[in-house]
């Protein structure tokens, strides 16, 4: 079943003289992990906002997300209940004065009874390893802890789709690993994920990758297929995952026969070729 079914989506910012998204198609099935890549200004964040019901499309032949019509006034409000969006800067997403207050924010907005909010908050604190930080104030958390809190806050409201807009761009490597591990776990538990990223090794987490250029989808396929299209990558000003860059250099020197994308594959290939 497709949770996201979009055909011919268009969006234009007020006052802009061109569309930020042109005639965009996107289909995402339940449980799928889709990466969205593209240069700065290619429309990734705009797409993330539209998917989360935080803006209304200018038009679309079809714009169904979790059974709601994004173009519909009611629909774009209703979709906020099912689609969670995590943004880049954790500082600008934490509303609560403490970690637990922040996890409660979405549930409070749904006007759930207090004991139910408390139960769900406890559950999320445990799941995200934040129990010890329950009453910690946001400015005293590390970057990774902040973004993990923001993610737990987004998912405290049970969601069917998680949209991430470059969630690790402002984190140090340790914080980035923390957040990616949490995303990985949610995906493994069957959550549908749309992951906007500029990091090519994050693309490798996805089942499928969609590349945007000037508001149009110019690629839709497996990550390995995207990385095989060197000309396209170059035109999108995208690189390769770090391990693949090394693999490519080794290939050019004749050490490797074919390109490997992940560190594990690279190590395996090198060990297999060892005399």
């Amino acid at each position: 079943m497709s949770l996201i079914e979009i055909r011919g989506l268009r969006y234009r910012y007020a006052g802009a003289d061109d569309d930020a998204l042109h005639d965009l198609d996107l289909t995402v099935s339940e449980g799928e992990f889709v990466a969205v890549v593209g240069a700065n200004g290619s429309g990734k964040s705009t797409l993330a906002r539209l998917l989360g019901g935080l803006a209304r499309p200018a038009g679309a032949a079809r714009a169904a997300v979790c059974g709601h019509d994004l173009c519909d006034h009611e629909g774009h409000f209703a979709v906020r209940r099912d689609v969670g969006v995590l943004f880049q800067n954790p500082d600008n997403q934490l509303v609560g004065s403490t970690v637990e207050e922040d996890l409660a924010f979405g549930l409070e907005n749904l006007a759930l009874p207090s004991p139910e909010i408390a139960r769900r908050v406890d559950e999320m604190l445990a799941l995200y390893g934040l129990e010890a930080l329950r009453t910690r104030e946001p400015h005293l958390l590390s970057g990774g802890q902040r973004q993990r809190t923001a993610l737990a806050g987004v998912l405290a409201v049970p969601r069917r789709v998680l949209v991430l807009d470059e969630p690790t761009a402002m984190l140090d490597p340790a914080g980035r690993d923390e957040v990616l591990a949490a995303v990985r776990r949610e995906a493994d538990h069957g959550l549908t994920v749309v992951f906007v990223t500029q990091e090519m090794d994050e693309v490798l987490m996805a089942d499928r990758v969609v590349a945007l250029a000037s508001g149009r989808a110019v690629f839709d396929g497996a990550p390995a297929a995207l990385f095989a299209e060197r000309a396209l990558l170059l035109s999108l000003s995208l690189g390769l995952p770090p391990a693949a860059e090394v693999g490519l250099a080794l290939m050019e020197r004749g050490v490797l026969a074919e390109l490997t994308l992940t560190l594990d594959d690279l190590v395996a290939a090198l060990q297999a070729g060892r005399p």
Partner: protein, 260 residues
Amino acid sequence: MRMAIAQYYPRASPIHRLDPRCKVVAVAALVVGLFLRSSFAALAVYGLVAVAGLLLSGVPLGWVARGLRPVVWLLVLTFVVQLLFAPGPAFYTLGPLHLSLRGLAIAGYLSLRLVVLVVASLLLTLTTPPIALTDALAWLSRPLRRLRVPTEELALMVTIALRFIPTLMQEIDTIMKAQRARGASFTRGGPLRRARALVPVLVPLFILSFRRADELALAMEARCYLPGAPRTRLHPLHAHRRDAVVLVLVAALVVLAELI
């Protein structure tokens, strides 16, 4: 970076446990009582109530003294002005200055009243987390909703503003460090020059804040926030019998102070 305002001092004391609404009403009653009647006896009663509250709260006295620091100058000024300019027969004259016993009494009374006032308010802010205080004020101003005052939204606004104060402080610190690395000085020169040195700090701060407001609004909407829609709370306010007892006790003491 330390903040100038008196901060919450977390502790499990009987005063901390009181419903914040009860504390707001009790302190308001003390403050109004203090202004209704000018007598040393009434002042003594209110002073004892404030001191008893402080002792029960278990907040270290050093912490309280720090909260009093911002009003020290006001205190000195009040005392000196009253002492010098209050009318009455002088007991000591030095040139144009003449000090009277009545002046001394008034100066003493007004300064002590200021101290009691500040200690009573500190008792509230030291034992109540800011969010609880905001919640209490929102609840107490509920009747204003009839006049279409968006009290809940205002309370949330204040809560968020409080949440961002330390973040802004951190940002100011970072920007100042960056400017210092480029040779700026915030301590050199007269007040005008120092004020001017702050401009390159405040401009990026404002720009950051506007972007922050946009992103925060989006993140709040993404978490199903709709202004005006009914909300519930993780920690709703709960009044207990002890709150009623405290209110009755405070009411009795106010009546006593006004009568003696």
